[in-house]
Symmetry: C2
DNA sequence: CACGGAATGTAGCCAATGCTACATATTAGG
DNA sequence: CCTAATATGTAGCATTGGCTACATTCCGTG
């Protein structure tokens, strides 16, 4: 069921980007067939994470938004960390995607503390430039 | 199929610890029924990662050992990293278990470089004591 | 308005990973 | 040596997450 979080995250993305989320867009972004999306949406609706009507837009419930938010936080932190230690951004993106589902609150906290520490040292912790962590070599 | 790596790792562990790996031990360690193990072993044998005969020990093939080794490397690095940034060891263990399957070679390399950097600063990077990463606060 | 293409839905198939229930093989003890 | 406990095996079921093929609905354009 960890894919659920990915779907919810993507639905939220599509809503901000396009104003609405449609099954076809989900299928295209996830690289799966529309049938896979259809069944996933049935499960998400059954579990109370989305509401939708056939041939209409998909909406997140409060529960769905919460899951999406939590997933995104983990995703962003993991991605920032990987980039900070020198993983190429495109690879960091792929790895973070897989790893985010296994991050406990404690680990999330520690990663964020780590990133905060780097920020205080004046290092960039996002993917917007090429600067990466260089530990002081004594 | 990412569970395959976990099974192979565990089989290797059992062989070093107990001299042999039996299905029952696998089931107990993984916390699943012996049926699940039986079917997993069938898949692993089909894919050329283990050899076994009914009611006998389980052996890794060269391919199986290679997968196990790679998984263990990622596991150890991820665990060391999590502990280094201050995640409690038991939680780090759980999270590393899930994350190790999503670590690309590039990310593994970067994590190891990061750990090497810490070691040069004289910080412990394993779980044998409580010392954790403290970034210099300027 | 009617029709065609795009969007969505359903049916039915497959593999992986889990389970319970039941059958069989092995091994250890009396 | 025989029996009981232990270890494995098989049958059959459920869920997730894929797919193709085919059916239906919606919408824009002529």
């Amino acid at each position: 069921m960890e894919l659920a979080a990915d779907y919810l995250e993507l639905i939220e993305d599509l809503i901000s980007e396009c104003g609405e989320a449609r099954a076809t867009d989900l299928a295209a972004r996830m690289g799966v067939s529309h049938v896979t999306i259809s069944k996933a949406l049935q499960r998400l609706a059954r579990d109370g994470f989305v509401t939708y009507r056939p041939y209409r837009s998909i909406f997140l419930t409060d529960a769905g938004r919460q899951i999406a938010k939590s997933a995104r936080e983990k995703h962003v932190s993991m991605l920032s960390f990987l980039v900070a230690i020198g993983v190429p951004p495109d690879i960091a993106e792929q790895d973070a995607e897989g790893m985010e589902h296994h991050i406990s609150p404690e680990t999330l906290h520690s990663i964020n503390e780590f990133l905060r520490g780097l920020a205080q040292l004046g290092l960039r912790t996002d993917a917007t430039n090429g600067e990466t962590l260089k530990l002081p070599q004594n």
